[in-house]
């Protein structure tokens, strides 16, 4: 008969030993079923068995198949009365709207509400001139001509238009598309759809620092490649790709270059002529603009042809039919012009705050790994992995700071982020990674609070972790033989 051992003394948080089937403590082996938490009703075995359901299906203690256990840890709930709102440190997911942007948008929501495509009256003319001003503001930020900007409903639509549109237009002669493994889900999904239509797609691997290998990229280009898609700044690890070199390679081989610059526009200086980019996706709500609008830059010289995704009255050069939402477009334009003015100031401030955060955390805590290259990055996206701590417990412990572990679009599934997997992070480190986003409105006090909270919670969770105890004793975890239960 196996002994039941109570390992954890405090009720609310526990250390989840993911992926391990048994634990060796003090020379004695305890399997998953032997360890019981104090938390009512749930045994640690049901938590342990969840991730290894991929290997073989086992039943959790409550009889349900482990893989179908819902993700219950951070429950969605209404804030209690007098519960304070969390600090916002998730600027890669979305950004609050700048008050100047709202100020620019409001007249077009209230008074100047005409359809910009009405050519016969003042409402239409005012609206159209506002839309064209916004187009010019967006174009000035990236060094383009206003005629090359198409307003869309966001970066996802822009990515879809660019990838599917270009590939389908040139499909008679060119059937190959190249992208990377760390792209945003919309890019990867568009490529998947193209693959089902008969295109061949190459998903380039990235190096351990998150940057694509230029030689491998050049070698993957075939004579029938029509498009190469690489994102400028990654939304999960903040890594900046060498766009000038990639642009050089693509231009020399006659391949169109598309980049998803949603996280990069307005934060680092971008010039489409220098980068030799043919298509660029811009998102409004990542640069302190409104949600629901974005833009696609489509080069005119040399002309890039697209098959439109959305058919209709031929607005936006025939590439994206539909009424352009004037207030949103004005908001996007205002956000771009503000970003251009404030770029230097914001960059200095965000870099200073990010260094402060990372210095504070790494000076107090050992075994913290920053994912992604240390130099070739955007400072405001800091992705840290805390070894021997479980990511979800840490997020729960940090519940008065709004953070995310990995990207918002992948957080619904139990799998660790595919970006972290692509850069070769160990699975346990990938599960314990947190992304800190710093932006224009972050204050020193918020950064200090986050750092201190993080340090205390990580230390507390590590105190409770048997793996940490073993590491402190000097046992090398890789050398333990975990036995099959």
């Amino acid at each position: 008969m196996k002994q039941r051992v109570k390992l954890f003394q405090t009720g609310e948080h526990w250390c989840c030993v993911r992926g391990q089937r048994a634990v060796v403590i003090g020379g004695q082996r305890f399997s998953a079923r032997d360890i019981q938490m104090l938390s009512p009703g749930r045994t640690l075995s049901s938590r342990l068995l969840r991730p290894i359901s991929r290997l073989h299906l086992r039943l959790g203690s409550d009889g349900r198949a482990a893989s179908s256990l819902p993700k219950e840890l951070i429950k969605r709930h209404e804030l209690e009365i007098d519960e304070l709102r969390p600090l916002y440190m998730d600027f890669q997911a979305t950004t609050p709207m700048d008050p100047r942007v709202l100020d620019a948008m409001l007249p077009y929501q209230v008074n100047y509400y005409g359809n910009p495509h009405s050519k016969t009256h003042a409402f239409g003319w005012e609206s159209e001139s506002a839309m064209e001003t916004a187009r010019r503001q967006v174009a000035d930020l990236i060094g383009a001509d206003p005629r090359e900007i198409i307003f869309t409903s966001g970066a996802t639509e822009s990515n879809n238009m660019a990838i599917k549109g270009v590939a389908r237009f040139y499909k008679t002669k060119k059937r190959h598309v190249i992208t990377t493994q760390t792209e945003h889900k919309c890019v990867l999904d568009s490529c998947r759809i193209l693959a089902s239509e008969g295109f061949s797609i190459t998903y380039l691997p990235v190096q351990a620092n998150g940057i694509v290998d230029l030689e491998l990229l050049e070698a993957s280009i075939r004579p029938d490649t029509s498009l190469l898609s690489v994102m400028t700044i990654n939304n999960e690890i903040g890594v900046k790709q060498p766009m000038k070199e990639i642009g050089q390679i693509c231009r020399s081989k006659g391949v169109f270059l598309h980049t998803d610059a949603a996280q990069a526009v307005g934060k680092i200086p971008i010039n489409v002529t220098d980068m030799k980019v043919d298509l660029m996706s811009i998102s409004g709500h990542k640069i302190y603009g409104p949600k629901g609008v974005g833009a696609l830059y489509v080069r005119r010289r040399p002309r890039v042809r697209l098959e439109p995704l959305q058919s209709g009255g031929g607005q936006e050069r025939g590439l994206r039919s539909g009424t352009v939402p004037t207030p949103l477009a004005v908001g996007l334009g205002a956000a771009c012009s503000i970003a251009q003015q404030e770029m230097e100031y914001d960059h200095q401030r965000v870099s200073m705050l990010a260094n402060r955060l990372v210095q504070k955390i790494t000076s107090e805590l050992p075994d913290v790994i920053m994912n992604g290259d240390a130099e070739q990055r955007y400072a405001g996206c800091v992705n840290l992995s805390f070894a021997y701590v479980e990511g979800e417990s840490l997020l729960m412990a940090l519940k008065d700071v709004a953070l995310s572990s990995g990207s918002a679009c992948t957080s619904a599934s139990l799998e660790p982020s595919y970006v972290l997997r692509a850069i070769g992070t160990d699975e346990d480190l990938a599960h314990s990674s947190i992304r800190f986003g710093i932006g224009r409105f972050t204050t020193e006090a918020e950064v200090d609070y986050t750092a201190e909270k993080c340090i205390t919670q990580v230390s507390r969770l590590r105190e409770m972790s048997p793996l940490w105890e073993m590491v402190q004793e000097g046992i090398d975890l890789k050398s333990i033989k975990w036995t099959q239960h």
Partner: protein
């Protein structure tokens, strides 16, 4: 700078700071105060009267913007009556984040 212009700039600065302190949102409030202070400091050494005048006009427009936006973002302080007749302040609850009460900037 001429004395009249200097006093105008100083009064503009003071008014902008006063209005910025009225933002209900902690992040907007701290950003406005910080940005106004840094912008005036950065341009403090400017001598060219035309450039100074241009900046003063821009400052006045920004002051009007701050006043408008303070008013707009206060809209959440409305009181409304729920279906069962109870009064509830919409948005008042959970408006403050951790720092709202303790900020000194």
């Amino acid at each position: 700078m001429a004395a009249a212009v200097r006093s105008q700039v100083i009064s503009l600065y003071r008014m902008m700071l006063t209005e910025s302190k009225k933002f209900p949102s902690y992040n907007y409030r701290t950003y406005a105060l910080r940005r106004v202070r840094d912008a005036f400091r950065a341009n403090g050494a400017l001598e060219d009267p035309r450039a100074v005048e241009r900046l003063v006009v821009e400052g006045q427009q920004t002051l009007a913007l701050i006043k408008r936006q303070v008013r707009h973002t206060h809209l959440n302080d409305l009181i409304w009556v729920t279906g069962d007749g109870r009064q509830r302040e919409m948005g008042r609850i959970n408006k403050y984040n951790y720092f709202a009460k303790n900020d000194d900037d």
